[in-house]
């Protein structure tokens, strides 16, 4: 049943994903169209960042808070934004919901975030079969790339371009981010080309993720690390037999899922008009 039949037209539905690294907001209309979105560095005050990020998204959508019919929070800070919404879902469920909306088929979602990775498997009906998060170690996450960029004295945003320039690849052997940094320093000392080292870092990220779980169906890659380093997706395509897709906004699928849950909840509670 269309949401509009429940009198939800002109109402907005907010998904707020307060991640360890970045906060993301997506605003949807009753037809599940994205009207606005925003991303901010999360920082230390989850509530304030979410508040501002919501304002950014509302500004982009050209509407105000009164138009928000329902909101759902997700991510590490999901319980810290009670002034916006007390409804929270884990990022596992929200990524699953967001990705299935975009690719309605059986899939394995690979989400590479700032401080954790997730592998989520969905069946053809969108039901979650299983999920896994990385273990305690942050190897293979955005934090790994941040640390390596620091060691290489490179701005994060240059990594993708450098990896594309690589003529070869320097493979890293260690699980540990700190030991990897030592390896990288050794390669620099040996005069290896920086682009080859950066490509090796990307390979390390993909290997850490692929060893977490097996893959079923098509692979959908999401997360801020994928959004800012699309070369990762190109490399994954070469390594994975399954078809690999990525959404238009890989960083926003969690917030999108949260907004869809908000719309679902409003659809269930709105009286017929």
């Amino acid at each position: 049943m269309e949401a509009a039949e429940h009198g939800l037209a002109d109402r907005r539905f907010a998904g707020i994903d307060i991640g360890a690294s970045r906060t993301k907001v997506v605003l949807l209309d009753d037809r599940k169209q994205m009207l606005g979105n925003a991303v901010r560095k999360t920082g230390t005050d989850f509530g304030e960042t979410a508040d501002r990020c919501l304002d950014d998204a509302l500004g982009a959508a050209g509407c105000d808070r009164r138009s928000i019919k329902a909101a759902v929070a997700t991510g590490y800070g999901r319980k810290n934004v009670a002034f916006i919404t007390e409804t929270a879902k884990t990022e596992i469920s929200c990524h699953a919901r967001g990705c299935y909306q975009l690719f309605p088929e059986a899939m394995t979602i690979i989400d590479i975030g700032g401080q954790d990775n997730k592998i989520i498997k969905l069946d053809a009906a969108g039901r979650r079969i299983s999920f896994k998060m990385n273990r305690k170690c942050a190897a293979g996450t955005g934090a790994f790339l941040e640390e390596m960029a620091l060691r290489l004295d490179l701005p994060l945003e240059r990594l993708d371009g450098l990896a594309r320039e690589a003529a070869g690849i320097v493979e890293l052997g260690s699980f540990c981010t700190v030991f990897s940094a030592t390896e990288v320093l050794g390669h620099i000392r040996q005069g290896r080309a920086v682009p080859d080292i950066v490509k090796g870092l990307f390979l390390s990220v993909i290997k850490r993720v692929l060893e977490m779980d097996s893959l079923v169906g098509s692979v959908v890659m999401t997360g801020g690390v994928v959004a800012h380093n699309p070369f990762l997706v190109d490399m994954a395509r070469e390594m994975i037999d399954n078809p690999v897709r990525t959404p238009e906004h890989p960083q926003l699928t969690g917030a999108l899922g949260a907004a869809l849950f908000a719309l679902d909840a409003a659809s269930h509670t709105e009286p017929d008009t």
Binding site: Y76, K89, T90, E91, I92, S93, D116, R127, R128, S130, F131, K132, M133, R135, K136
Partner: protein
């Protein structure tokens, strides 16, 4: 008014506290005045034989768990690491030895004891793991006390007579050196009595845990980890039998009769495999209760059920009981066991705890969760952590994992 999700407390806890205090008081007094010999024993070691020879029995693993539950362990472990006991080995061992080195123990606050009672003998059974042998060996050197042991069989499928016979002989071979230390001869009537009481305790403990099959369950796994104290430390005594028979079991039966749920509004029923995370018992109890989900049964608590104990065949019965233990069985036998448990307790999902320092009791490392999911269709979640070393526990990761798992169960309904 918001629904109260706080799990109701079991009233029997006060009585359990009393008998455990009596147990430690007796140990402390004997250590001070030398009136009774003290034996240190592994948690599934030949405790009944020691009791029959008049020893008071002290269990270092219980002390390890106390160090964990009081969250002292993480501060004690580094002292053991520094003398060569790796942070990767059993954190009961490292916490306990660290506690000794630091001269700090939860026994002081709980029972006014300066430390564990000095042993006259240490007796292990490697059925728990090889670490117990190294653990006891350290104290044997420290106290210059005799060290005796039973060496288990491992990866056991069906129990074979030769395995039981071998363990029975090993236990019988302990008698002579133990008699010498005890200064008295073994009276078989005393051994039969201790084994009989231990069997009664075991049967009652099983009845306690089986109440979790009721919907809603009157007990949680977290309750079980606390109320197993007498089954571990006082089996073979009348105090343990009385506690379960007269206090805990009747209280749980009353809850069942009145449909009183240990987790109010119980929606999902989970099984826990592996060690508890001792320093997070209360947090986990609340976290699951908030999700109206009851972790109601576990391999861990059920590992102190010894139905093979037989007063008419004390050595054979002990050998069989301590050999059919889950922890020494093959993966196929373990999987068959867990399947029976999931069926009996009407379980919706399984949580495997991958405890970093306890490979012997982390059953998720060789594909078991995947095989059991395929066989039963019951979903599972593996969480990473540790029994005692909280440096290895990520609360945020665990919380998100558990909430996401419950959301998955909701979607499946």
């Amino acid at each position: 008014m918001a629904e109260d999700k706080t799990p109701p407390r079991l009233k029997s806890a006060a009585e359990m506290g009393r008998i455990m205090a009596e147990y430690f008081k007796e140990l402390d007094a004997a250590a001070k005045d030398g009136s009774r010999k003290i034996a240190w024993c592994t948690s599934v070691g030949p405790a009944e034989l020691l009791q029959a020879l008049g020893f008071l029995v002290y269990y270092p693993e219980n002390h390890g768990a106390m160090l964990g539950a009081t969250r002292m362990a993480t501060d004690m472990i580094p002292a053991a690491n520094a003398i060569g006991y790796s942070p990767d080995i059993c954190s009961y061992l490292t916490a306990d030895i660290g506690s000794y080195l630091n001269k700090k123990t939860p026994l002081t606050k709980a029972f006014g004891m300066a430390g564990p009672p000095k042993p006259d003998v240490l007796v292990f059974n490697t059925n728990q793991c090889r670490d117990v042998q190294d653990w006891f060996a350290w104290y044997a050197r420290e106290f210059d006390a005799p060290l005796l042991g039973v060496y288990t069989h491992r990866n056991i499928g069906d129990i074979e007579p030769h395995q039981v016979g071998d363990i029975a002989r090993q236990i019988e071979n302990l008698v002579e050196p133990l008699e010498e230390i005890a200064g008295r001869k073994l009276d078989m009537a005393d051994l039969r009595r201790a084994v009989g009481l231990s069997r009664q305790c075991s049967d009652l403990w099983k009845a306690v845990l089986d109440t979790a099959a009721h919907k809603p369950s009157p007990i949680t796994f977290f309750d079980g980890t606390i109320h197993m104290g007498p089954a571990v430390c006082l089996r073979g005594t009348e105090a343990a039998v009385d506690y379960y028979q007269k206090a805990l079991l009747p209280e749980l039966e009353e809850r069942m009769a009145n449909d009183v749920a240990a987790v109010p509004g119980e929606r999902f029923r989970l099984y826990w495999d592996g060690m508890p995370i001792w320093g997070r018992l209360r947090d986990h109890s609340k976290m699951f209760a908030d999700l109206r989900t009851n972790v109601l049964s576990s391999t861990y608590c059920n590992s102190w059920i010894f139905t093979a104990l037989d007063p008419d065949d004390p050595f054979g019965g002990m050998a069989k009981a301590y050999t059919e233990l889950f922890i020494v069985r093959s993966d196929a036998a373990k999987e068959a066991y867990i399947q029976r448990m999931l069926d009996f307790f009407k379980v919706d999902g399984v949580i495997y705890h991958d405890a970093k320092t306890c490979p012997n009791n982390s059953n998720c490392r060789y594909g078991m969760p995947q095989r059991l999911e395929t066989a039963t269709g019951i979903p599972s979640l593996t969480i990473n952590g540790d029994l005692n070393d909280l440096r290895l526990v990520s609360d945020e990761q665990n919380k998100t994992n558990v909430e996401a798992f419950v959301e998955q169960l909701e979607e499946g309904r």
